[in-house]
Symmetry: C2
Subunit: 324 residues, 2 copies
């Protein structure tokens, strides 16, 4: 959906792709193959791009931090491999999920191995606090996913609880990407500012992901529209719709969450719910929430000196706002 636009962004994207294609290899050929296939299916490489931009914003040289940037994407990939196992997902980014091609056993092990491989390399190549930031981030991601599972179908989920879940499961990795890149690029208060940027960017990013699930189409998503509704996930547009919608809307959602429908009836029910959500003004409310977090992300950049990298980070954030 968001493709690199400026020349230097294309360069960063190409640098990361080149690293994955030519320098990524584990000791286990089967796992290397499973991970490469997942990487080849696409992805915007936002996490590594943010790592490299953060390093440059602190005065560093992006090309020196490619491995670190790649680890950020690989943490994301490992969590996706496990997500697809636990969700029983058939496709991911439009191609078969790892679990479909390799089986659940290899997929669980491949995810575990990838986590271990990342930490093995990070502990060998990076001083404190990088290894600690990455392991704390992975713990937060899992904690957030458990919280999300427990919140499923809870129509009364408070907005603050939603933010906590999103911050843990999605935003901490963006925060860590920016923070670790910043630490490797230089020292000073910019490190904290860049982490803040990453956290707020990540929250806005997840909100946009939630929104696209109900406003985009299957071709663009690489998975069925309304998949979050199908999974009874509490997303920001649903929370907004429940807040401003009438009692009938709430009843419809309750009925849908309780029902066990066949595929056709489920698709029809999802399409109906999405139309009803739209009429509550939930999509506009979600735009507003995204805008708020994009502005907070850009505000965090205020403490940094002016640089092309800082401007590109701001423009990455702006693009989320525009996309929504």
């Amino acid at each position: 959906m968001i493709e690199p636009r400026s020349a230097s962004e294309r360069d960063l994207y190409a640098l990361v792709e080149d690293f994955f294609r030519h320098r990524f290899q584990t000791d286990n050929p089967l796992i290397t193959e499973a991970v490469r296939r997942m990487l080849a299916a696409g992805g915007k490489r936002l996490r590594p791009r943010i790592t490299l931009l953060a390093a440059e914003a602190m005065g560093g040289n992006a090309a020196e931090h490619l491995a670190l940037a790649a680890y950020m994407e690989l943490i994301h990939v490992a969590t996706l491999i496990h997500d697809d196992v636990v969700d029983g997902a058939q496709t991911r980014r439009g191609v078969n999920a790892t679990a479909v091609d390799f089986g659940n056993r290899i997929s669980v092990l491949a995810g575990d191995y990838l986590f271990a491989w990342i930490f093995k390399n990070v502990t060998a190549g990076y001083d404190a606090p990088i290894p600690h930031i990455l392991s704390s981030t992975l713990a937060a991601i899992c904690d957030g996913e458990v919280l999300q599972l427990r919140a499923m179908g809870n129509l009364d989920l408070p907005f603050d609880d939603y933010i906590e879940i999103v911050e843990k499961k999605t935003a901490t990795l963006f925060g860590a990407s920016a923070e670790c890149g910043a630490i490797c690029g230089g020292q000073g208060p910019g490190v904290r500012a860049l982490r803040e940027f990453g956290i707020h960017y990540g929250i806005a990013f997840q909100m946009m992901d939630d929104l696209l699930d109900v406003t985009s189409d299957e071709a663009a998503l690489g998975k069925p529209v309304g998949n979050d509704l199908h999974e009874r996930k509490m997303t920001i547009p649903l929370i907004c719709a429940l807040k401003t919608g009438d009692a009938e809307f709430r009843t419809r959602v309750e009925e849908f969450f309780d029902a066990e429908l066949d595929e056709q009836a489920e698709s029809a029910a999802i399409a109906d719910l999405i139309a009803r959500m739209g009429r509550t003004g939930a999509f506009e409310a979600t735009h507003d929430a995204i805008h708020t977090y994009v502005e907070r992300a850009k505000l965090a950049l205020g403490g940094l000196g002016d640089s092309p990298a800082r401007n590109e980070l701001a423009s990455l954030a702006d693009r989320l706002s525009r996309n929504s």
Copy 2:
């Protein structure tokens, strides 16, 4: 099966249990509960006991290294939680597998969270090379499990390949337990010797585990007899039996591995195969292999000064030999 015997071993066991009961807690209550339940189901705590004994053998004080020792057991527990998901296991140590009580989703996430939680604590509390040893160990465990999956049903698996699998999936964690304990206890060539001890002990341990699968009973195992045969796993008694058995034995194994039997027919076939394995002399050959690795483990201890802890490590190894 093997219970602590000497007074000091009971003390170490009690210290570790006390740590788990009163000091183990993660930020996620559901995951803490899942892990505590797994811990409460039992286990001999061999890995933490070896960590503490290694620390003492190097002149350290066991009580100061309880957290490190506990992490060794927790890495083991996290791999068990994931193993049970991928194996679809119903029971573990005689009680419900985590996946049965908590579901596959929570189990995959709980294992991931536990790995991350361990690394988060280890990177916060321990200097190099401890974090690197632990992450390399986890990578080796996963690599070994993938190799084991690929070797399933391969009746021509060479003995050396079996040893590579066992070293990676089981022995590296014993090696790391001893090595990390040793590093925390003191410095010098004893560190390397203790790692060697752990590796050889771990290989003998896995061989005994393989043997008990076909010579013990369900009550003692906490899972059905012949479970490795059921899973088409290449174990040391099977490899020995295929080496010395006749063509008919090999044909029977081939037929069993190819067949899809109902539960009753499968049990009968497993009982028949085990009886045939026994007649090839495979159990005695396995005893001999265990004895060889126990002797290598004890030999590795030769470089250490005399101490009660060193003697206890030797006696732990001897007990494997006697048990077989």
